[in-house]
Each structure stands twice: as structure tokens, then as C-alpha cells.
Amino acid sequence: MDPVLVIQSLISGVMMGMVYALLGVGFSLTWGVMHVIHISHAVFGLLGAYFAYTLLTLYGVDPVVSAMVSTPLLFIVACAVYQVLIRPLTKAREMVVASMILTFGLAIILENLLVLVWKADPRLLTPSYASESWIIGPFYLQYPHLIGFALSLVGISSLYVFLKKTTTGMAVRAAWQNQEAARLYGVNLFRISMITFALAVSTAGAGGISLALLYSFEPHSHNLWLIYLFLVVIVGGVGNVIGTALAGLIIGVITGLSMAFLPYQWVNLITFGLLMVFLIFRPHGLFGEVG
């Protein structure tokens, strides 16, 4: 087997995997901390992508800048969504199920609002470096992949630092590990939940933009992106930020290797099959449900 092909596949695969991880880390966090399966997480990612597309095509704003701008904007929007839609769900006996049904409905609404505004036409995010590469020896590091990879590293590590080092972040982790105890310590669970939710959704914007640098997108794309999210959560473990990042790497490696060695027809099947086997043997993800 040709080593250049293998390594090149690995390089682009890993970078692609990390982009999935960036979109998935917020999804994983929401699920782990709040027991909310946020089906509309990917649609918020799409929202970020359309935002970046509009700014790029109308004003020439680079997607990376849009990613940074969209993050606080989405944070605010998500806070509102939390207060209006998510908070009432805490009354449910099974919040996981109720949140899934509600956010499913929200995803449909947002998808069709996107159609009304931007039409169903597929779009591409094409900054000047869209199809350029940084060439090192025989290897091509495609700029969109690199940018996505960089955004992912920044995004995920920021989230990690927030959770581990800041007081709010530690409160989030505490609430997640033991809700009763956290309440006893005076932690306002609603406020913590809102911040967690908003934080998770705000990373979705950057994640969506990174994905849009790699692939074309249209309002319906969130359905496909949702599959990537579930993949990342399986391997990384629900709620596990570092695990999600590593999951991205692993999925990238699996995709890259299988594309280098197997007929492409079998790649998706092998990927899902392996993940299935993997889950059977390590049901809590590679790294378990740690903070």
C-alpha cells in the first residue's frame, strides 16, 4: 500500500474529524450536563454557516471572523431559547425524551425558516483559500481543513479551560456530577443550565462554519450533520469534552485508513460497523463520562 496515500488520507481525515468534533462538543455537553438531547444543535450550526456565507458574499468578511462574531450572537439567542423552550422541560419525568421531541420540532421550524430566507439552493463557503493547499513534501494540507482544524482546537480547548478553570465552569461540572449537592452549595441550577446550553450552542456556530468550509450546505443538511454528531458522542463519551476531541481524531483516522485500504463502497459501512462493535465493548465511550 502506498505510504503517501495512507498518510495523506490520514491527514485530511483527521482534520475533518476534528471539525466534526467541534460541532459535536456542544451537543455532547448539553446531553451530558443537562440531559437534553439537542436535536436542533446542528441547525444552529447551519445558522452560523449561513451567517458566514452572507457576510462573505455581501461584505467579503472572512469566515474565521464570522465564526468569532457568531459565537457571542448565538450565545444570546440560545439563552432566549433556553428560557422559553428548554426550561419548561425540567418538569418532565423523562427530560431526555421530552427534550428530544421538543428540539426535533424546533429543528424542523428552523430548517424551514432557513428555506424561507435563503431558499433551498445549496451554498458553498468560498473564501480566497477555499481550494488552496499548503504543500509539505508530497503532502497537501488543504487550507479549509487546516482552518477548520485550528478553529476546532481553539474552540474545544476554550471550552475545556472554561469548565476546568473558571468558577462558573466548575459549577457546571459540579451540577453535572451531583445536582443535589450543587443545590445545597447554593448553585442556581437554572442559571447554570442556561449558561451550559448557551455555551454549547454558541460553539455550534463555529462548528457549522468549519463544516461549511469543507462541504456544501443547504437547509436540509442539518440532518446529515446530526449523524456526525452522534458518531462523535459515541466514541467520546457523553459530556466528555476532551473525549469528544479525541473522538474526532479517531473517527478521522478510521475514515482515512479505510479510504486508503478499502473499496470506498464499504467505508461508511465499516465506520459504522466498527463504531457499533466499539460501543458494544465500551458502552460509555472511549473515555467514559468524565468531565
Binding site: K119, D121, P122, Y140, P144, H220
Partner: protein, 400 residues
Amino acid sequence: MGKKKSKHAFLLFFLIGVCLTAGLPASVLGAAKPIVIGGSLPLTGQYAETGQWIERGMRYWAEEVNAKGGLLGRPVEFKIYDDQSEVSKAVTFAEKAITVDKVDLLFGGYPGTAARAVMAVAEKHKYVYVSMGGHMKSFQQGYTYSFGAPPLMGEWWYEGFFQWLATLPANQRPKRAAVYTINNPVGLSLMDSINRWTKKLGIQVVINEKYNAPLADATPLIVKAKQLNCDLLFSNGFFPDGVTTIKAAKALNYNPKAIVQGIGSVIPAWVKELGRDGDYVFSGTSLYNKLNYPGNDKLNAYVKKKYGLDGYPLYFGFGYAWMQTLEQGVRGANSLNQTKIRDWLKTHKVHTIAGPMTFDKNGLPPPINFCTQIIDGKVELIWPKNIRTREPVYPKPAWK
């Protein structure tokens, strides 16, 4: 008190006015009962973009027909259901249109898998169904009421490209082909002509792989094609995977002599979003908007004015052409009797924006062999030679 009364009066007059205006078109055409054409399109979901273009083409046809006095002296109107890009819904809505709404005629749907299923429904209820069809296999099921007018026939899609390629001296033709095909009915039907022609032209198919959607990474595909010195690339897929492949080809500086695209490059977004990166790809088509067939000028002008596009998109043309065929069948048979329409269509020639067509017993016209190439952001016709709009650019210039 006075304010409320005048408000009510205004509302009353407004409503009367609305009713009068709404009733006007019917009264202009002698208040004749409209001819209803029914069915479903994917107006939301995965295939919404194409579904909407088909609808626009259909409605433009209806406007024209009604402006000229209607069909059989009656106005035409549509009953379009949204099948949400789901095959089973396309089937139930087809049945609803036929048995509940009791529509007079059916219109064709999208994509090929839905068309395959609806062709069955149309056959069961003996309704003429003019659509893109579902590639060759769907026309080999013994259905008599289906017509592809024109069809989107994967088996014919690359005929024109290969016929053109055959005119090149052997030493200029590509020698080694990399064929990447999406694993679904469209992709599989595209492979048919590749298998036949590469043998004829002495082109070695070095790579022949299928992939399942989604195509997550086209990098390995391109690297392989490069390493094996493939100078002809077939990207037999839709827009998302086609785009991923082209972007990778540019990023990895892969410069084959020609790149052939499946059905991804036929939608307006290809040129709009890829810009110059989308240039020089070859593809097929079932109709071409710059040909001299009657109606093309009008449609182009309309699309330019309304959507700012340089020439009507393929699916707009499809919607219009299928309706033209149906219209001529109805006029020819002078009846809304489905069997009479079917028999007339099978024994007469129709003239549409896609050119003249006659239909064989399976409802297919003779094989279409258009080949297109995108040059300077425009879709040019390069085959058949006598209607060529521009000389093909070959070999493909290197990426800048």
C-alpha cells in the same frame, strides 16, 4: 361608532373586490371548469431545490397556456402536494390526486426513485405519466402509460461526450480513466455508457469505485487518481459530492485532461457557487436552452427577468417540457381520456423546447446525445457538432 361602521364598510367592499378579482380569470375564460393537473413534488426536504425549479417551469407553462385561451377551451391549474422528498408520500399523494381530487392529468415528480414508484401508481390507475422517469430499468417494467419527455436517462447521459471524444485522434484522447460513482440509481445508470465506450475507445479504466453518500472526504480519491496517472476523471454524482471532488482536485493540483460530472453540475448553484473552479467540466443533458427549438428564447427571457439567470435551468425546462408534451397529447387526442392521450403520444411526434420527440412502446424517445461543457461560467453545448455553441476546451487547463 362611526369609525367602526366605516371600517366594516371598507372591509365589506374590500372583500367584494377581492372576490371579483379572484373570479375574473375564470370569467375571462368563460367561467369554464378548470383542468386540474395533480401530483406531488419535493417542495421541502433533501430535494427541495430541484422540486421548486420543476414547479416554476410547470407554472410558467400554465401561465402561457391560460393566456392563450387554455387547454381544450378550459383554464389549467395545478394541485401540487409536497411529498417532503419521501418516496412513500409521493405514492400516497399520487393516489390522492387520482382518486380523491380526481385530477384530469398527472404531472411528473422528482427524484428518480420517487418517479419509479409513481410510475407504478400511474400504471395501476391507467393515467398518463410524463416525467423524468427513473433511468432505463424503470422503462423496462412493461409500463405503457409512462413517458420520458424528455427523460433524465443516466444510460444516455455521457453518449454525447464519448461520441465527441471518438472524433479526437487516438493519440490526443485520454488513456487512463478514474471512475468514481455514487451508489444509487443515477450513479449506477451512468456507469453503463462508461463500460461500453471505454472499451471501444481503448481507454483503460484504472480505478472504478463506488461510494455511498455522504462522501466525507474526496482527498483519497484524488490522490489515487493522481498516483495512477489517470488523465480522465469521472465524478458520477450529485452536487454535494461533485463539489467535494472538484475542490479536492484543485487543492491537490490534480490536472486530468478532462473531468466529467454526473448531475451535480446541471444545477445553477454549480456555476454560482464554484465560479471559475467549476469550469471545463463535461456533462450531459436532456435539453439545452440555447437551441433553436421554439420557446427557448421566451423561457430564457423570462428566467433572465425573474431570476437573473443566463438561460433557464435544466429542471425548469423539464417541468415546462413535460407539460408541453402532455398538452400536445391532450390536444392531439382532443380528449382527457388517458388511454386516448397515451395512444396519440405513442403514434405522433411532439414538439417541445427539447426538440421533436417520438416515443417507442416503452415511452422513450430516441437516445439523446447532448454533451455540455461549462466554459467561462456558462453551460455550452459541444455535441452534436452541428448545433455546437462553442468549441470545447480540451485538454483542461491547469488549475491556477
